[in-house]
Amino acid sequence: MAIKQLSIFVENREGTLVTVTDAIAKAGVDIRAMSVADTNDFGIFRLIVTDIAKAKQALDDANAFVSVTEVVGVAVQDEPGALAKVVKILADNNINIEYMYAFITVSKQFAYVVLRVEDNAAAEKILTEHGITLVTEEDMAKL
């Protein structure tokens, strides 16, 4: 059920993001969601893409330092309080969120949230039980 995410190590200097995004563009892969977090020296660039295998190959070919990890994708109504509901369910069940990022699409009905938790399966089970819609990799590709 979990969706795959690319984590790319980027040094804090000019042009590193260009190399990475350029490699994905040339592979003809679309970026669905992204997040960059950084310290003084380096950042981790996280991406959800339409074709993970193709993107990973393109990044490897470009000598990028990249890993693939699984995260939980959640669709929430694009309205006030929707995200609060999701995080409350997780908090009530003692599931810590390591990081998350969100994106909205043209449909405007849903916003999508990418969550990284310690135990994906447990988070998915709890969320499903509470009627939260999860997103699969196929869903992401179709968006």
Partner: protein, 433 residues
């Protein structure tokens, strides 16, 4: 003023006579008391010195190297009875083990004489108040200068390093006339003094005795201008007992070697052959009077030359030029000896990084800093910031515990550091730019 005028102005012939007599003594002393030397002197046929007829016969004796100190750590090279040893100093070594310096009471007395000579040549008089801003501890510099200054009769303030405001307060309030520090710390202090805003006339400072790291001429001039003082340079190392081996006089045309206690030679680094007067090569030194830890033909790895012409100051002991470089890649950062191999040994044993690295040394506000770039190779760490940051902090902590120096570790992506064919150039020293 010349501290030991009768000795420091001896005619060359007499200096050489003393050296020959003492060389014979130290060879026999080593042969009798240090297993390593006993073996080597036996192997080369010099034995207890029977083969030493003239000074140049020293060439029969094999060199002593830094490795010998490491292999015989901590007291394998000690010649005296441990009950006669009264002091132990140490400096950082190549493998995390320090190099020890071991002294008898007589050694300390001679050491103080040598330092007093250097201080005197640098302009210190018994009327001076000297602030020693070297870090006290195992390091030979602080206590070496301390005892030498006291021997000379100057007033010593054992300030140690750090706490800039307090240093400035003592300089100003206590009428300090001379400062002992590393060149970089002296420069830093001089800048801080300017910033503190008191006029130079509030200070009585007139001279500086700097050491423990190389000082470029431009750096020296800057220190002299900032403090409005006269700065002199000196030379020494733990293996030879610390500072006092040689030092500048007022002519500032080379550092006078304490030739009655040390026998200097210049050799060709590659062939080991002795070179003539004025030729540039590696400095090799034999201690002539040390009892705790005598050293025969120690290869200092410092490149210099010797001048035996009489000096305008009246001293006749030969003069050693400011060191022109080293035969190995030892770095001196914040006064700490650092070998890239030490760093390499640490990095190689850390699993999440590649065995490739680059060292960048910079100087900002007259303070050295060392940055080490390493390639992180464990993909699993990318999932989580804390893990990457934790790796960086672990490496920094490990480096600090071995080097005794705070460093900055920067993680970079795999295969981004230069790969070298042939001799690697992993060190980028930007301090003099």
């Amino acid at each position: 003023m010349i501290f030991q005028k009768d000795i420091e102005t001896l005619p060359r012939k007499e200096i050489e006579a003393i050296q020959l007599e003492r060389l014979k003594w130290v060879v026999k002393y080593c042969y009798d008391n240090v297993p390593l030397y006993h073996q080597r002197l036996t192997d080369c046929g010099v034995l207890d010195g029977a083969k030493i007829k003239q000074l140049s016969d020293i060439e029969y004796i094999p060199f002593t190297t830094k490795d010998d100190f490491r292999d015989n750590y901590p007291f394998g090279l000690v010649a005296a009875d441990m009950k006669d040893i009264v002091r132990i100093h140490a400096s950082s070594g190549t493998t995390g083990k320090p190099t020890t310096g071991v002294y008898t009471k007589e050694d300390l007395d001679i050491w103080s004489d040598c330092v007093a000579r250097v201080a005197c040549a640098g302009g210190v008089t018994p009327d001076d108040i000297i602030q020693i801003s070297f870090g006290y501890g195992l390091f030979t510099g602080a206590l070496g200068l301390h005892y030498g200054m006291e021997k000379l009769g100057a007033t010593v303030i054992p300030a140690s390093s750090g706490n800039t405001q307090k240093q400035l307060m003592m300089l100003r309030d206590w009428g300090v006339t001379g400062i002992v520090a590393t060149p970089s710390y002296a420069l830093y202090l001089s800048e801080a003094m300017k910033e503190a805003g008191y006029p130079l006339s509030d200070y009585s400072l007139r001279l500086g005795i700097l050491g423990s790291e190389p000082c470029t001429v431009s750096m020296r001039e800057q220190i002299e201008n900032n403090f409005n003082i006269r700065v002199s340079d000196n030379y020494g190392m733990t293996e030879l007992g610390g500072p006092g081996v040689s030092g500048d006089c007022e002519a500032r045309d080379g550092m006078h070697f304490a030739e009655d206690h040390f026998l200097p030679e210049i050799i060709d680094t590659d062939t080991g052959k002795r070179l003539g007067e004025g030729e540039v090569g590696e400095l090799v030194v034999t201690t002539l009077t040390r009892k705790g830890m005598p050293v025969l033909r120690y290869r200092t790895k410092d490149i210099t030359k010797l001048d035996y012409q009489p000096c305008s100051c009246g001293r006749t002991h030969c003069r050693m030029a400011k060191t022109m470089g080293r035969t190995d890649d030892m770095l001196i950062i914040k006064g700490v000896n650092v070998f890239p191999t030490q760093i390499e040994n640490i990095l190689i044993n850390i699993p999440d990084i590649a065995p490739h690295y680059m060292l960048y040394i910079t100087r900002k506000n007259y303070r050295d800093s060392l940055e080490i770039k390493v390639e992180v190779i464990n993909e699993a760490l990318l999932d989580n910031y804390q893990m990457l940051d934790g790796l960086k902090k672990r490496i920094e902590a490990k480096l600090q515990s071995i080097l005794g120096l705070r460093t900055k570790v920067t993680l970079v992506a795999p295969k981004t550091l230069e790969r070298f064919q042939g001799k690697a150039k992993r060190i980028v020293d930007l301090r003099n730019q």
